[in-house]
């Protein structure tokens, strides 16, 4: 080993170590922010290591410098711009977009490496050309699926694409199998030296990514994004084989594996198996005939004014924010309401279900953005024993996560899903646009209970009316 080799080896080793510590730290609240910066630093380090290695050995041609600078400037600037501008409520689709671009990068570099071979190792035969071709094909296949799948996921979350009815028919599995088999065939051709089949592989795997993602319902999307994130790690690892970089392989494999675990954790929180998310289609389409559906018999509806009166008399209030609150972007309005209550000496706590919001953990981000003190956010297991001692529960745009069926009704598809026991509280107000079911498509027994009142309306509108009513009552005027 000569000097540049040794330096690069040490830098790579350090970068891997820091990346691993970064991922580890990101899974703990206290260290998360520093860990993120650490990981970013490790990435920078890896670039410095690579550039200095080539500077010390073969040198970097001026022309390459130009293209490096152009590419990195444009990419970083646009990425920074989006990251700084995007509203917090749009986080899921932003992550999906970033992820798709990562897949696109692997896809492009693999196409480039195939059409214009640059790896001396592969040419000289130390790394066998066959393995080189396999790595390229894997990188193209996974990269294209990641890209097209993520873009579809983003478009659906953004509301640009709905779930078309025809994607729910069983025949879609056949279509996807055709795409899959075609990709596999193109894969085999490509490895056996048929250069033109690269385009067939690109197209077939792109279509496969679209075909698999399109039928999946909006609420399942986070799981899909997490899975696609794992794929982009795999694509990076495959690209690592192409350019013969251990660092790339380790980092890609780490992200791939960690992404899988995270996907599993998310599925558990939603009481869904990965298989049913991927192949089950939109949940509401299958469960319409299940035991859970039925007519509501005992719905109590009440006005915002009544709600305000009850709140004013309360000592302890628990807010259960959900998907609907995130969609209505009402977190700031909610904070104004709770501020008024707190000024009146009413204790306010937020009960956060593991999958509240548009993505697991998303609700915490949104409430933090609205300046809700961190210690007022309570996780499900901590808050569940507190409901019996609570006067009022405000359910805002949450539905399935407060359905008592999950505990009481063994025949319910929701049975076994962890839920918040809001019905134990003295009074429950459910602020909801209408009587439509949650994303599971199942009737919510909570709405029928005698201590539950429905306040119909858009979450943001109801909350701002609530502020007015509380003002009239003199709450929070001190």
């Amino acid at each position: 080993m000569n000097l540049p080799d040794i330096i690069k080896f040490v830098i790579d080793l350090l970068a891997v170590l820091l990346l691993a510590l970064g991922i580890k730290g990101l899974s703990k609240v206290r260290s998360a922010r520093e860990a993120n910066i650490l990981a970013a630093f490790a990435m920078l380090l890896s670039v410095v290591g690579l550039l200095s290695y080539y500077l010390g050995t073969s040198g970097i041609p001026t022309q390459s410098w130009v293209w490096i600078i152009v590419g990195s400037l444009v990419g970083s600037l646009l990425g920074t711009l989006l990251a700084k501008k995007v509203p917090m409520t749009s986080m899921p689709e932003t992550v999906a977009l970033f992820n798709g671009f990562g897949g696109m990068s692997s896809l492009l570099v693999a196409i480039g490496a195939f059409l214009f071979p640059f790896n001396e190792g592969a040419k000289a035969g130390s790394l066998e050309p066959f393995i080189n071709d396999v790595s390229i094909s894997v990188s193209i296949f996974v990269g294209a699926i990641t890209f097209s799948g993520s873009i579809v996921a983003m478009a659906k979350l953004q509301g640009w694409l709905s779930t078309p009815g025809w994607t729910q028919v069983k025949a879609r599995h056949f279509v996807n199998i055709v795409f899959g088999v075609t990709s596999l065939l193109a894969f085999t051709y490509l490895i056996s030296g048929n250069i033109s089949s690269i385009w067939l592989l690109v197209i077939a795997s792109t279509l496969l990514g679209i075909g698999v993602t399109l039928p999946i319902g909006g609420a399942d999307m986070p799981v899909v994004i997490s899975l696609l994130n794992s794929y982009s790690g795999i694509a990076a690892a495959a690209a690592g084989f192409v350019v013969d970089s251990q660092l790339l392989i380790v980092a890609g494999a780490m992200v791939g594996a960690a992404g899988l675990i995270l996907t599993q954790v998310m599925c558990k929180g939603m009481n869904r198996s990965l298989i049913s998310v991927l192949f089950g289609g939109s949940l509401s389409s299958q469960t319409t005939t299940s035991s859970g559906s039925g007519e509501y018999v005992n719905i109590t509806s009440c006005s915002v004014e009544e709600c305000a009166l009850t709140l004013e008399a309360a000592n302890r209030v628990i807010v259960v924010p959900g998907y609907g609150l995130a969609v209505a972007q009402a977190q700031h309005t909610l904070r104004e309401v709770t501020k008024k209550l707190e000024q009146n000496g009413i204790e306010v706590v937020y009960a956060i279900h593991p999958v509240a919001g548009r993505m697991p953990g998303h609700m915490n981000v949104l409430l933090a953005e609205a300046d809700v003190p961190y210690e007022q956010l309570k996780e499900m297991d901590a808050v569940n024993p507190e409901f019996p001692a609570t006067d009022v529960v405000l359910v805002l745009g949450a539905n399935d996560v407060v359905n008592p069926q999950a505990k009481n009704d063994k025949s319910s598809p929701l049975y076994g899903m962890p839920v918040l026991d809001v019905q134990e509280a003295r009074t429950v107000f459910v602020i909801k646009r209408g009587m439509s079911a949650g994303y599971s498509g199942i009737k919510n027994d909570l709405f029928d209970l005698p201590n539950t009142s429905m306040v119909f309306g858009d979450a943001k509108k109801v909350l701002s009316e609530l502020i007015g009513e509380l003002k009239d009552l003199g709450v929070g005027e001190k």
Binding site: A32, V47, S76, N99, V109, E120, L248, A253, A257, V265
Partner: protein
């Protein structure tokens, strides 16, 4: 490096990834996903290698450059957006008044 040692690297890297995150509080699911997503933009190294090793005037320069752009969009944007999310958690409760 020869192929089989690269395979070892792949295997051990995967095992490391599986072990790294065991218990994640739900609060951190979104930031963790976003952060891991930024790291997956490590393909920028492959793009860099392609650009450096490309012959002069080769189309590979352009392909590599576009690929690098996409990767850095993912990396830089990903880290910034993750930081934005995490910054909200680390805010001290005493500073909440506007």
């Amino acid at each position: 490096m020869n192929f089989d040692s690269l395979l070892w690297v792949l295997l051990l890297g995967s095992l490391l990834g599986l072990e790294l995150i065991g218990k994640v509080p739900p609060t951190l699911h979104t930031p963790l996903m976003s952060g891991a997503n930024a790291i997956s933009g490590i393909t920028m190294l492959a793009a860099l290698t392609a650009i450096i090793k490309a012959e002069p005037n080769s189309p590979l320069l352009i392909i590599g450059s576009i690929s690098l752009g996409f990767a850095l969009f993912n990396v830089v944007g990903g880290f910034f957006v993750t930081d934005r999310m995490l910054a909200m958690f680390s805010r001290k409760p005493t500073k909440k008044n506007k």
